[in-house]
Symmetry: D2
Subunit: 451 residues, 4 copies
């Protein structure tokens, strides 16, 4: 995956999901388990040290582990076996207590939790950075007119700052959703073969408590081997985040079209070049983020599909998660990272925005006129007048303003100055700036508390 | 859809998502909008009454609306037109102010929010009922041994109350997730053509505030026409819930297999009969819930896929939600309702559970023996002894207990009474009862507060 | 569903998937079964007539059937019961032989097959109509220059006919895929309770053969109750078709943007109007088709997810199909129908296409120059020259043609006339017209034979 | 991915989808392109050799390519650049003609096609092997009674050979579907920047023809950069195949339950062992295949979701395929390979099957009795008699046979020998053996021709 890993992922999160990183977190569980059991007195105090010393991923042979996994059906069994052998080479006594009372799923799931914790933290940094950039953009362009587009048609004027505030508002909600996951979803998995911790007799809960404390993970009410709502909730929230990033990428790439030219991905040496067209500057980040947004629904769907896991531990459902959840984290973290990088250098062209506002020769101001005229002649009547004036403007290639100033149905109700003023974009942006302020305020409020 | 509506849905939630119910909520928006605008002074005080009076769904012609929708591309336009005509038949002045300053999406989205609020409330009742049944079952069967199964193989003993507590624990989390949505996701949509409320001049926020208060909906920081994370979060949470219900249905249907026979869906006149096999009693509810769990990932995926909505209002993405979100609510509410009904009458057969614990002639107690023996001879050694004893038990069709009591490798370390006691299921259920208590306590704690 | 049925569906296919139509096809199966069994001699000759006479959907009470379905878990059981009662009211003897030897799934699945056969035929008509329109458009615009766009950036010139030929080529493949389904997927389902036709003793195959002949369905090698690849293949092919329609809708809606304005959905009274913006003409059909393309992956995913159906008949998997496959047919047929309607009246603006070709002041011809210059100075060198000339063109707001005619690196290799000619769009469209001819020829070849 | 690659994939197909294999196929395209262009005379004859010589993946630096890809947005650009540099180190003249007239997507897509061709061939071998095993099993167990199960309840008797024949019948269809793809979907991609091959002037089609011939790929009517139905069809067919494999894995794992014990995955040293339960033998292959079947719907959904690709080349849609399609091939090929391996050694226990047929004390023969009794007293009446006899059998824990032989409603119509004979499983398996023969015959017929 070397070829595409950096394109679709972020270096920081990619590093958390390598085979070796995955293995190390599993070994972290085994070391902490030995410490917890030694502390509680379930295994000899002397066993924890020698076990912990071998819990280093670099001592393990990944290829051999991969081959053994085919036979055992999960990677925990060969890892525990290799660990046991390693410990045994140094301490025959400690060897007996490796993985004591735990089951494969305990080490796999808790290892995953440790990966998720790190990955979510990295993503929060990127979210903070992105929200900061968006706040700055929203403030900078709070009075920059741009055309609002509905169903890919020019509609009425708005300001660019409001577009950005909309992105910010959504991203701030996602920041809370991600933050919230630490409390809701990142918990210890520890239940033994069937979720009773039977091998530990009546000390199961004591060991679990010590283990959770050691790993700084919350202790759930009971083991959750086949109850996957927490991990799937992580997946759904990353899916939601990526959906909003996809919306941003969609907007930016549409505004970056040659025929629109209002915003631009930052340029740079070799960035977004084409192999055959020297003049092209491709929206590379938008491509990556849109691709992520197209992949996420299917990937999240897999996690949901795998939820009905049978009995105490499932046949297939759990296995379906192993490559899927890391992929979800990798792809969403990548989209977020690249978007944060890109928005920090986003180019904005207010002049082109202004030119585009003129493209329809005033038609996008029809609603503004209707609003005022409607107050005087009724909404339906005003609507009819504007529809016919709009048609005339198109047919005669005349600016709508000029059609209206000579329209006998209009003249009695609106004078020339009024009409001209109605064609000033900023005059028809309602409470856009109040909305911008509210979004910025809300995003700041959220960043300190749970929503 | 009459044929299958009750099978897959719940009557209460089905009723919220009929065409006429949908229309009524949209008309509730229009009536409230007129009141709010009259109150703020944007439209004449006298207009609100006549508009409100026509906002009754029974006055509208659904077939005509359906046909007009093909042309306009959304159902709001013909509804507003028909409402305007109705108002005009009674009050020419008021007619001018129907839908004043609003856009199609305002009425469609807010109407949806009103539907969702009612549907989520209905679902919370069913969730409460289900959690109560599960709490009772968990307590009743806290000391009823049953075999734990991993990868569809008998593993070790557990108690049935712990299986139930696992279901309860997950359901209690879902109850919080659903409850939480009221605060997070159920908000007003009101932004006018492009999210600036431009037609209302500088009074947009005042009208929005009054409108939100009238409809008892939270007022968001800004309109969210093309930012769909709130509605998609509703979808993902219902998907999560249905996944957990699917896990329950999976467990119950597997335990209800003819060859297992441990639990049963309640029977009743004509319930679950077969058209050709008079003896059969089909797990009808499990079929419905499993079907729901198989449908939800795809349906939730559609909502996620539709998130990247272009600019101020989208071309297609929003439209993709219209039938999908109601389907998600209908199917998840149906699964929940039927599960709550079924679990209230769930049959449990502790005798058969006991018989099944004997099926392997003691093999499922191998781990219990390993646990104790391991303390004395080391885990690996104990593992090897038990593997060979298990093989002997299978080959010679002899109970494992009897194999062990005559095994020279075992005799020095475990006496006969110890061995016999190791084959008592309840002696090897660890802290199962503590876990049950924790789950019940957690579910009660959660029901009063946000998690 | 009245409100949205016509918007998202086609009237012809909607009519096939009403509850009553579904019921009628199921009754068609029951009538044909009685005839086949009477013919083979499994039931009395006299029973077929009285059974067949009651097989009329209008005699049945849908609401009662819906309520009974909740108890029985499928709609076939109450339908067969109601049919048995109806027959019994006229002929006590014939009553004994209703549904003889069949199981619920036989009547439900075969009824579905009869619906699919009709729906696929209706879709083929629309596909033929659409392919014809596209053939005409491809021919009409075979020499109309338009800019090719890659990654939403203007790239190089092409002709509009080639865009259309690309659509046609894909649609012709889909026509074959749909046609092909009749032979591959539309087959009888008839196996009795467990797929052995045991109730018919040794006459099972004779009855099946007669039944298949009566219904004009192919007879499969054996019953396929829990082997769903045929119906899921129908779903996947409709998904593929909708994906290609989505691509067309994407292209058309992008070309229809206010800032691009190259093609237009046909206009008409009330078509695509906005509730607040009198000047707007919304791409209503594109919205519908794009929505369909966003829904199809999730819906098809449900069908795939439901494939692993247990044993002889499944618990949940089959049930998950009941509402999903009709939805897939309805949504894809609707997208196809609306697209066929729209393309028949598609507006094309060659003038605007020409204007857009000029937007970059010649930059989109950079590759054309590189191609010729590359032959003389090497590709890399030419690429560098054009990159620097392009930069100059942008910085100095000068047409690239004019930059090049004064570029000392270019002058030795290309004279003025050569350069000017390189900026003629049609001079740089390669073998576009040959490709158009090939696509048209292929589409005609395919329409007569299976691919 | 070393840890899980062999578990979820097959070694043969994994090897086709490494980074280096992917790169080599792309270089194969570049070498063939140079040869074709030299042959047609578009580039100097002398350029092809020096270019071809550098088209060896081992000469390339994958890590550097990965880093450059972030900037360029696709991996083709840095690969072409590195190739150009390599060629230039040996031949300054040839360097000019690397990748001449092609675009990034030409090399990426054609490289993919070469990978798919090899992967599909490998899968066909596994499919042949699996079909052969299934044919043998179907013949061997054509008269081995086993209970048929519907909705996870015992229903009526069947034979194990028919279960196997059902699997075979589906797999044989999939074999045809996969085979068929070679003709339908595996084609050259070659269109240049916008699908016109403009850089090649009027020689585009000649080069394309020569290139297709060189690579032994079919030449499509026109380039298909943004028309993805062919590659998505590959995905859907692999999804269909995996669904059927999932059905097999579901059946086998359910039959392998401790409480059922009718079939078994082959055992072997270390295969399917548990880390804590020495007696367990886990259905490892079923877990892998079921996981694959749960992943495929989401992954196929991504491919469908990415179909609406914009204009001549898309922004994001194409990128969404890059990691997804290889994953689909890897996961489906892995499921197929492991299933073929496992079925070749499948254990079958006819004795246990017979025991399970006795579990209900004759209830599963109720339909058999109804069938005969119904002929004499009418179906409804017979149904009632059996329902009440079944209840009696359950309540009084008496074999249904014994209940019936003393039932005054039955005695007049069936004598004792008739009743006893009705409880012989093989007497109530209808035309099962004919169906088996038909399935085997169909599978053999198909293997020689297209269906």
């Amino acid at each position: 995956m070397e070829l595409l890993d950096l394109l679709f992922g972020s270096a920081a999160v990619n590093a958390i999901f390598t085979d070796r990183s995955r293995l190390q977190r599993m070994l972290d569980f085994e070391a902490a388990l030995a410490r917890a059991e030694a502390q509680v007195g379930v295994i000899p105090k002397s066993a924890a040290g020698p076990i912990g010393e071998q819990c280093r991923a670099e001592l393990f042979d990944l290829a051999a582990l991969g081959e053994a996994t085919v036979k055992t059906g999960n990677h925990a069994i060969p890892i525990v076996k290799q660990l046991t052998d390693l410990v045994g080479q140094h301490d025959e006594q400690a060897k007996r207590y490796v993985h004591w009372g735990a089951t494969s799923q305990d080490v796999v799931d808790t290892g995953l939790m440790l990966q998720l914790r790190d990955a979510l933290s990295a993503m929060q940094s990127d979210l903070n950075r992105l929200c900061e950039s968006l706040t700055n953009l929203a403030e900078q362009y709070r009075s920059t007119p741009v055309v609002a587009r509905t169903l890919l048609q020019q509609a009425v004027p708005t300001v660019f700052g409001l577009k950005v505030a909309g992105w910010l508002d959504a991203l701030a909600r996602h920041r809370n959703r991600i933050q919230d996951l630490h409390a809701r979803a990142i918990v210890l998995q520890f239940g033994g073969a069937a979720g009773t911790l039977a091998m530990l007799g009546d000390r199961g809960l004591d060991v679990a408590t010590a283990l959770a404390k050691d790993l700084q993970l919350a202790l759930p009410a009971l083991p959750w081997h086949s109850h996957r709502d927490r991990v799937v909730e992580v997946a759904t929230r990353l899916g939601l985040l990526t959906g909003s990033l996809g919306k941003m990428a969609s907007d930016i790439s549409l505004q970056m079209q040659t025929e629109v030219g209002e915003v631009f991905e930052p340029s740079g040496e070799g960035r977004g070049g084409s192999s055959t067209m020297p003049h092209k500057r491709n929206p590379v980040t938008c491509a990556v983020v849109r691709a992520a947004a197209q992949r996420m629904p299917g990937l999240v769907g897999i996690m949901l599909a795998a939820m009905p896991q049978e009995h105490e531990r499932s046949l297939g459902g759990w296995h379906a998660e192993w490559e899927t959840l890391p992929e979800i984290v990798r792809v969403s973290a990548g989209a977020l990272y690249h978007m944060a990088e890109m928005v920090a250098g986003l180019g904005v062209d207010p002049t082109r925005m202004q030119q585009n506002l003129e493209l329809t020769h005033g038609l996008i101001f029809a609603e503004a006129v209707t609003a005022v005229l409607g107050k005087r002649v009724g909404k339906s009547k005003a609507h009819q007048i504007l529809e016919s004036a709009s048609r005339k403007s198109i047919t005669e290639k005349k600016h709508l303003r000029d059609v209206l100033t000579s329209d006998p149905q209009v003249i009695p109700h609106l004078n020339r100055e009024e009409i001209v003023s109605l064609f000033e974009p900023l005059n028809y942006t309602g409470v856009a700036r109040q909305f911008i302020d509210r979004a910025i305020a809300a995003s700041k409020r959220h960043s300190n508390t749970r929503d």
